[in-house]
């Protein structure tokens, strides 16, 4: 049988267990607002029983382990949804930037219908209307040149701004790559520590929480594949190429110039191109090389067609002094379109006539005005302004698609986060209740110690013949 000292030992181990319990409850409550934290629980087991003639006698309890409540399936779902959310967020943001720079915004204009008065559509319209005003013989070539300059400037500015958006995306990709490499190296470090800590038995709960948070952060930047190993470490690979194996970061991400200053991703060791399809890196690349590149191309095509069509018609015209053959627009695309500088300095050189010496002949101006409604095979058989309106509409659609996908992804992320919170989140009410349980148990065990102490005093007193 246990005897007094055995029972005292039982009581003292119980006190330790209940203390441990309150510590775990305290730990949980302290971390109630830590989003990366998974609640921990004390695993208690009855200690090895003593064989006696009366059968097995219990010897109290022992703390077996402190484990955390975590669902690894949920964790991996959250990682992959983080990649999706990161990607769509990056895409939506880039495209909305482009929309702002494009400058087509409908506002109320005083005395007229609502219109997008400051964008390229309005400026192109002004240009063709100014050509039309010349057909009455009362138009002002200076006003024509002015409206042409506004068109050219708008093209230049939008083109430059879109290039800036692409350049910003490249910078953001580089920053994300640096962050990702840092995360990879952090994960490797944590793997090492976790393996060491768990080698002696038990689970390194707090290190695992930190590692999971780091992995989720990495996932929001690039689509990863995380595989748990038997020794407690997690291997990470990106695009099929191993990046973290056990405690070492064996590889990393690197940017390289895919042509024209557009950055793509390769791995550091072998320089193999990696297809990063998720996360903010993947999203930035998709937006940059997809919708943004398409928008830039459409604008260039539009500018190039405008230059060609106008110049072809215009160069056959004659100005008041009989001069002919000059171009109206200079440049080749949206970035460099401009108005012939000789014409800017002297708008009277405008070649409006179809024959020399006939100042009342405005047939070239009429032909130029008619370009507004002419269908252009290079623009899908649409006119210049129709083609541009289509481009604007396409951008709107691309943004809506990204927004819808983002909303869906965020809804899924929220659901998963809620599930994890249900599973692993701390409830103050629950912890307080547990705390009270352990407190009562502690009181009970302390009472046991007091009782045993009193009993032992009686035993000791029994041996003393002198005291009464």
């Amino acid at each position: 049988m246990l005897g007094l000292f055995g029972t005292l030992d039982l009581a003292s181990r119980s006190l330790a267990t209940q203390q441990e319990g309150t510590a775990v409850a305290g730990q949980n409550m302290a971390n109630v607002n830590n989003p990366a934290y998974a609640r921990q629980q004390l695993n208690v087991q009855t200690s090895a029983p003593l064989d006696t003639t009366a059968g097995e006698e219990g010897t109290g309890d022992d703390v077996v382990s402190i484990t955390e409540v975590r669902d690894s399936l949920l964790d991996s779902q959250i990682q992959s949804e983080n990649s999706a959310t990161g990607s769509f967020t990056a895409q939506q943001s880039a495209l909305q930037n482009a929309e702002a720079y494009l400058g087509e915004q409908i506002t109320n204009t005083s005395g007229a219908s609502a219109a997008s008065a400051n964008g390229l559509a309005a400026k192109l319209s002004n240009l063709f209307n100014s050509f039309s005003s010349l057909t009455t013989g009362a138009g002002d070539p200076a006003a024509v040149v002015q409206s042409a300059q506004e068109v050219a400037t708008q093209f230049n500015q939008v083109s430059a701004n879109l290039s800036q958006v692409q350049s910003n995306l490249n910078t953001s990709i580089q920053n994300d790559v640096a962050s990702s490499n840092q995360d990879l190296s952090d994960i490797a470090g944590l793997n090492q520590q976790i393996v060491l800590a768990e080698a002696g038995g038990g689970t390194a709960n707090d290190l695992v929480d930190t590692r999971e948070q780091t992995i989720e952060n990495l996932a929001s930047m690039a689509n990863i594949s995380a595989t748990a190993q038997a020794d407690g470490s997690v291997d990470i690979s990106i695009g099929g190429v191993p990046m973290v194996t056990g405690g070492s970061a064996v590889n990393g991400l690197q940017t390289y110039d895919g042509g024209g200053g557009q950055l793509l991703i390769q791995d550091e060791n072998s320089g193999t191109t990696l297809a990063v399809t998720g996360g903010s890196i993947g999203g930035s690349i998709t937006a940059r090389d997809g919708a943004l590149a398409g928008l830039q191309t459409s604008l260039d095509t539009l500018a190039s067609q405008l230059i060609t069509q106008v110049n072809n018609t215009y160069s056959a015209g004659y100005d008041a002094a009989g001069g002919t053959g000059q171009p109206f627009f200079t440049g080749a695309g949206a970035a460099d379109i401009g108005v012939n500088s000789a014409l800017v300095s002297d708008p009277t050189q405008f070649q409006a006539s179809s024959a020399p010496g006939a100042g009342g002949d405005t047939q070239i101006a009429l032909a130029l005005a008619n370009l507004a409604t002419q269908d252009n095979p290079a623009l899908g058989n649409q006119s210049l302004t129709q083609s541009y309106a289509q481009t604007v509409s396409n951008l709107g659609n691309a943004i809506n698609t990204a927004t819808d996908q983002l909303n869906t992804s965020q809804a899924i992320s929220t659901t998963l986060a809620n599930q994890r919170s249900t599973e692993s989140g701390v409830s103050i009410d629950e912890e307080m209740t547990n705390l009270m349980q352990f407190q009562k148990a502690y009181q009970a065990s302390a009472q046991l110690v007091t009782t045993l102490n009193a009993m032992m005093e009686i035993v000791i007193d029994m041996d003393d013949p002198i005291s009464t």
Partner: protein, 312 residues
């Protein structure tokens, strides 16, 4: 289902955020009165709005062109009417000269015709408000009619240095007119010359000069047999020109009416696409605000409940 502290607060924050976003959007619509602002608001709609605004701006330009051309047509009509008066006066002189024998009377008539020639020359060289000569075809920077005078100061010939080309001006979608008139057309094809045209045989200055010369030389027979009938031909030719001007003005009037109607239609179409229905918007805003208040209130109630309130 287990409920943790973070589950409740995260949900609460997400709902508040969503309601605030809705409020901002509706409030924006109510303030601007617009339901489309950016391409992403309605991609198909903005395509149509851009098209409508282009049409509306073009329509405004057509109206401006029409006004300009109406002015030019009026100026031309005034000049043409003056010329018709001159031709009629010359015709009367030609008729009266037939029965006159006094050389002093004939000399008197010759002087009057001389004056008529000068008036006709001046009128034929009318300029518009921009200083363009209106009866030279597309050559408008120099007087279309140039006179050469003999030693006695009488005009002996008037030459036409304009051309027979006219330029078209835009007055509507796919619609053009020309307000230009060649003063003379001896080529046999193209627009009719106002004062001289080989097809009708008219040549006002030739005939006026001939009349003056015949009056000076006293050749009343030639006046009767040649000048008088020629002047009739000249007047008929001029009247055709006046009629054509009338057609032009009427075309411009119709085009102006059509442009006004088109403008109104485009305004309505644009408004249908872009205007927010204020009643609906305000109702939705009210509902959203009510939901927002309810969310805040219920959130506050729940967040205040905790076992800690009850533990001594």
């Amino acid at each position: 289902m287990r409920v943790s502290n973070s589950l409740f607060t995260n949900n609460f924050l997400a709902q508040i955020n969503q309601l605030q976003q809705q409020q901002i959007q509706l409030q924006n619509q109510a303030t601007t009165g617009l339901k489309i602002s950016l391409p992403e608001d309605d991609p198909a709609g903005i395509n149509q709005v851009l098209d409508l605004q282009t049409q509306a701006a073009a329509n405004t330009q057509y109206q401006s062109n029409i006004t300009q051309l109406q002015g030019a047509a009026t100026t031309a009509a005034t000049a043409m009417n003056s010329l018709q008066t001159i031709v009629e006066q010359a015709g009367e002189i030609a008729t009266e000269a037939n029965g006159t024998t006094t050389s002093s009377q004939l000399a008197n008539y010759a002087t009057q015709v001389g004056t008529l020639i000068q008036e006709a020359l001046q009128t034929a060289n009318t300029q518009d408000a921009q200083g363009h000569y209106i009866f030279g075809g597309t050559i408008d920077s120099q007087p279309p009619f140039v006179a050469t005078t003999d030693s006695s100061g009488n005009v002996q010939a008037v030459n036409y240095q304009g051309n027979t080309e006219v330029s078209e001006s835009q007055i509507g979608p796919g619609q053009t007119v020309s307000a230009q008139i060649p003063g003379a057309n001896t080529t046999g094809s193209g627009p009719a010359g106002l004062l001289a045209d080989s097809r009708s045989g008219a040549d006002l200055f030739r005939d006026l000069i001939s009349l003056q010369q015949n009056l000076i030389s006293g050749n009343t027979a030639a006046i009767a047999s040649t000048d008088n009938p020629n002047l009739t031909t000249d007047e008929n030719n001029l009247v055709s020109g006046i009629a054509a001007n009338g057609v032009l003005q009427s075309t411009l009037e119709s085009a102006s009416t059509a442009a006004t109607q088109l403008g109104a239609s485009l305004t309505t179409q644009t408004s249908n696409l872009t205007s927010a229905d204020l009643t609906t918007t305000l109702t939705q805003l009210d509902q959203t605000q009510t939901a927002f208040q309810a969310a805040l209130q219920s959130g506050e109630m729940i967040m205040n409940l905790s076992i800690l309130n009850y533990i001594q």
